[in-house]
Amino acid sequence: MFEIYLPIANMTVNGLEVILLGALVGFLAGLFGVGGGFIMTPALNIVFGIPMTVAVGSDLTQIAATSSSGAVAHKRMGNVDIKLASLILCGSVIGVLIGVEITKYLKSQGMDDLVLKEIYVILLVIIGTIMIVESYKAMRRRHEHIGIRKAVMGLKRIKDVHSIDDFKRVFKTKEEEEKKHEFKEIEEEDEITNPVIKKLRDVKFMSIELPRAGVRIPIFIPPLLGLFVGIMAGMLGVGGGFIMVPAMIYILGVPTVVAIGTDLFQMVITSSVGSVGHALNGNVDIYLVMLILAGSTIGAQFGARASKKLKGPRIRLLFGLVIAIVMLRLLMDVLSTMGLI
């Protein structure tokens, strides 16, 4: 029952299981505010044995759907900088086509599964490590705070606290420290400044004013970022928001909500171009796309609702562990293919 034949992948899958996987990844995407492509593509390969190239192509088509859905909402809220998105697109459209061509070459050489899995292992190690380290640090800060609160109640003595004045001093310092490192919510509109942003703003050569984003940046930076993210999207079937959004915030100094809205907007076109390229190479299974989309749509709605209640660092740490498990599973496949285990 629910068996569906995927004509392009040339295999039978249980449709309900694919929808469930889509729902689970969609839930995570909604919960953590990520696109989820970096989990979906390897998961399709690991769970159902779908060839990596078909998983990449179909996931990219699915990203075209989810990003257009998100872009609609952000455009309505005025969070899209069209000028910035157009500049990014100059690079990302070329990048995604390069990515598609690389995948095509790897497929002809019979190296697609192995190489794409190797790149995914590296990518997941980076994402998983950042997530685990960030959440571990946040948990430590929270524990220190709890330690101080316990000391007030006489449950625990802490170093250098001998009087109530000592305690007030330590407590104030710790509280300020915690506020400084607090997990940033996307609603936050604080202007982020760092030496890179300052240096880029000082560059007068070929700079362009972006009124919606409220920044002035050299014209060649967004296409370069787009080129890199486009290649990743074409090769790996990821939206690349986990690179593009922090880059826009911490390198270009774009406000967080505008960065998210602009990224989603450019991703609609980038992923659509990539989807057409992959479909022409026989990597897009429209049945698979529709099944994943059905699941991820439902899952993302629940994930978004759950994110209002579950924001703790512990849950981020556990997501990091889930990424680590997926990475280890891929690593085992890679080592097995190379004959090392």
């Binding site: 060839p51 989807s275 897009v284 709605q301």
Partner: protein, 199 residues
């Protein structure tokens, strides 16, 4: 710790347990341990290059297979290269007239064929480690895939790789643009209904 915080922590841990169990268990339960590496070869590097990225039903499918020695990277000549094909036939029903022994009855047979496995084809050697195979792509499906299992045999050494090549009855550009547009329209619809998937 107040009750609200307790409840929130319990929910977080239950969810965590669910996520980790799903990440660990699903690959094991589905297909007996996930995807098995298909292209592990021991003696030969085998490259499969189809004439076109996408074939149409009824096309003559021409495939070039290059075989090189894994250690020396020299072209392998005089090998026996066989190709096993399975073609997606689509879901369809057929009505057949079958005379019974008495000769006075007609049976209507409905059948659904998903995949048909063709007889192995021996590839022709072109020299310099290149082998070519040609086959009519006769299928009743408009859209599907052909699974090729290429086996190379020489001096008792045997290696094989598997590849899926797609075919479609419609113009590939129509399929490519159509499927992408369909996905985007679905996404826009979801965006208008739910106010956008949260990213």
């Amino acid at each position: 710790m107040n009750d609200k915080m307790k409840a929130r922590n319990i929910t977080a841990w239950v969810l965590a347990g669910f996520l980790i169990t799903a990440a660990l268990a699903v690959p094991v339960s589905a297909g007996g341990g996930g995807s098995a590496p298909k292209d592990k070869t021991n003696y030969f590097d085998i490259t499969i290059v189809p004439e076109k990225s996408m074939f149409a039903p009824g096309d003559v499918m021409k495939i070039k297979i290059t075989v090189k020695d894994k250690e020396t990277h020299e072209p392998v000549e005089g090998a026996k290269v066989t190709v096993n094909m399975s073609v997606y036939q689509g879901h369809f029903t057929e009505t057949k007239e079958i005379r019974t022994e008495n000769g006075d009855g007609i049976c209507v047979v409905e059948q659904t064929t998903i995949k048909s496995i063709l007889d192995p084809i021996l590839a022709e050697e072109e020299g310099n480690g290149i082998y070519v195979v040609e086959k009519d792509l006769s299928t009743k499906a408009d859209l599907g895939g052909v699974t090729l299992k290429v086996t190379v045999e020489k001096d008792g050494k045997v290696d094989g790789v598997e590849r899926v090549i797609s075919f479609m009855g419609v113009d590939p550009w129509v399929y490519a643009v159509g499927s992408t547009l369909l996905a985007v329209i679905c996404g826009l619809g979801i965006g208008l209904i739910f106010g956008g998937i949260k990213h």
